[in-house]
């Protein structure tokens, strides 16, 4: 009963109304859901198991897409240099891309919210120190920071260990390069909320500052954070793809969309365009869908724009 009640309230809400009213947003949501489904269940629903060496056959290599004269129906989007089905590698690659994207956003949001809350609530020297660090971080493009962290990790860790943990290094370096936005937004809201009566009251009855921050201030920042996180997800997926394309991202044993584009790029000149174009198109469509959802969320959660 309670569930049905929640559902009815959700369907009646302003948010759902504005969602239904925008066909672009619905299309973006459907696309994103499709990606989530196809990549989430990729190991079970992908047409071929591309990373099981036994099933690969080099005589299937470099097959063009199925609708071209020399294509074969079982490989809808063609095959790569190892005879792997491109559609299956895209589904598995998007899985890695999205996993890294989500993890990086979670990491950046957790770090940014914590530092923002502390900075805004405590103020003074702590605030000044955190915000100066944020200023320095902001004056460098995220991709440069991520590259640098990855480079340092590469020289600190022994080679075989680095290959094992490189996906976590990637998540941390993307996260560390994007937390500033969360911290700044959360800090600004916290500073406003801090002076309101209910926070004063919580302080008067002797609650611990950490408890006040978590239970009373935190709920106020979740809306804007959700917007930043959605757009941040698109950015994180793009950054991951870029780093992997540059060869400093995920290890070749777990190719993401960026790695696939990098591999395909080697065969661009010999005319095997499908190995680059299809993963590239998948990446762009995914990022565009997430970006459109983020735009909608920003407008829908901002009462001033209504």
């Amino acid at each position: 009963m309670a569930f049905a009640d929640t559902m009815r309230r959700a369907l009646d809400s302003d948010l759902f109304y504005s969602f239904r009213r925008s066909p672009v947003t619905v299309a973006a949501a459907v696309t994103a859901a499709l990606f989530l489904f196809a990549s989430g269940f990729a190991p079970w629903i992908a047409p071929h198991n591309t990373y099981e060496v036994v099933t690969l056959n080099l005589s299937n290599a470099f097959l063009p897409p199925a609708w071209t004269p020399s294509g074969r129906a079982e490989f809808l989007l063609g095959t790569d240099d190892q005879g792997r089905d491109v559609l299956s590698t895209i589904m598995l690659g998007a899985r890695v891309s999205m996993a890294v994207g989500f993890a990086a956003v979670l990491f950046a949001a957790a770090l940014g919210i914590t530092l923002g809350l502390v900075s805004g609530y405590v103020g003074g020297m702590v605030d000044a120190a955190i915000m100066r660090v944020a200023d320095v971080m902001l004056s460098f493009p995220a991709i440069l920071i991520a590259l640098l962290i990855d480079g340092v990790a590469r020289s600190v860790l022994p080679r075989d260990l680095h290959t094992k943990v490189s996906i976590y290094v990637l998540i941390v370096s993307i996260g560390l390069s994007t937390w500033v936005q969360y911290a700044r937004t959360v800090r600004a809201i916290t500073m406003v909320e801090k002076s309101k009566e209910y926070v004063q009251a919580a302080r008067v009855i002797g609650l611990h500052p950490a408890l006040i921050m978590l239970r009373h201030v935190l709920p106020n920042v979740l809306g804007p954070v959700l917007v930043i996180a959605t757009i941040g997800l698109a950015l994180a997926i793009l950054t991951e793809a870029t780093l992997s394309f540059l060869g400093v991202g995920v290890p070749p044993t777990q190719p993401s969309l960026g790695t696939l584009i990098r591999i395909g790029n080697n065969f661009l000149f010999s005319g095997e365009w499908w190995m680059t174009i299809f993963p590239g198109a998948a990446l762009v469509i995914l990022v565009l869908a997430v970006n459109l959802l983020g735009d909608w969320l920003r407008d829908a959660l901002n009462p001033k724009l209504r």
Partner: protein
Amino acid sequence: MAAYIVRRLLQAVLVMLTVGLIAFAMFNYVGDPVFNLVGQDATAEDRERIRVSLGLDRPFYVQYARFIGNAVQGQFGTSYRVGMKVTTLLAERLPATLELVFAAAVISLFVGVPLGVYTGIHRYGLLSRAFLTFSLVGISLPTFLIGILLILVFSVILGWLPSFGRGQVVSLGWWSTGFLTKSGLRSLVLPAVTLGLFQTTLIMRLVRAEMLEVLRTDYIKFARARGLSERTINFGHALKNTMVPVITIMGLQIGGLIAFAIITETVFQWPGMGLLFLQAIQYADIPVMSCYLILVALMFVLINLAVDLLYYAVDPRLRADRAAVAGRSV
């Protein structure tokens, strides 16, 4: 104004010292610098002797001060990978990157501003909508994919333009330029467009938004009432007032251009600093990494400083506001 400049300068120095600290930490604590210098065959006494001769037995702040001193004089040691002096390596690569960034900035400015003005004036025109849709594509395509697509179309399919390298370069002293030869210019086209596309769309959208805002103001209506020609109004009166944010964003974007040049240079095998930096990362070549870091940080800080000062030079209102605020607070 003087106090403001001094404060900004102090801030810039502080940022540089912070970046220097990071570079220094990378230099000294990532791996063993002595081991990197002498290799496996040296005895323990040899290592100790070198450690003392390099000053690595001194306290942290002494070493840091020495590092900063050396950095100011342009001494960053030798590359682990190539065995050449880092500064020589970077100086060789600097012209290629700066020429690429310059070309990209020129493209984005000279394409972005006119497109922005056009779409701002003809708000509902068919062509405007086409430009805006095109700009959406420019924003959602990642840089490396734009490069690959351009190579596919213009090099592989059409065969019009070269897809890698700088072409023929002419040396002017230590500066090598690709601007003077035909093959150099032809090689520049695709990388510069790739690098500049995002900035072009950004500037176009910015100028459009500003134009829409300015065209609604009273002084534009007054200019119309005076019977001035559309051209004078649009370019003489309106465009001038959109320039302040454009300068800021453009300045900040040049920093972005230098960073994204890493990607463009990789796609097009452009022999610039970005490509060198990427190779340094892959081989954990710390001296090159820290020198690149400091150089890029210096460029960013200088650009930010210049933009801030320019901002005040361009818009007199800001100076007045600031004076008013200062007056109230006293």
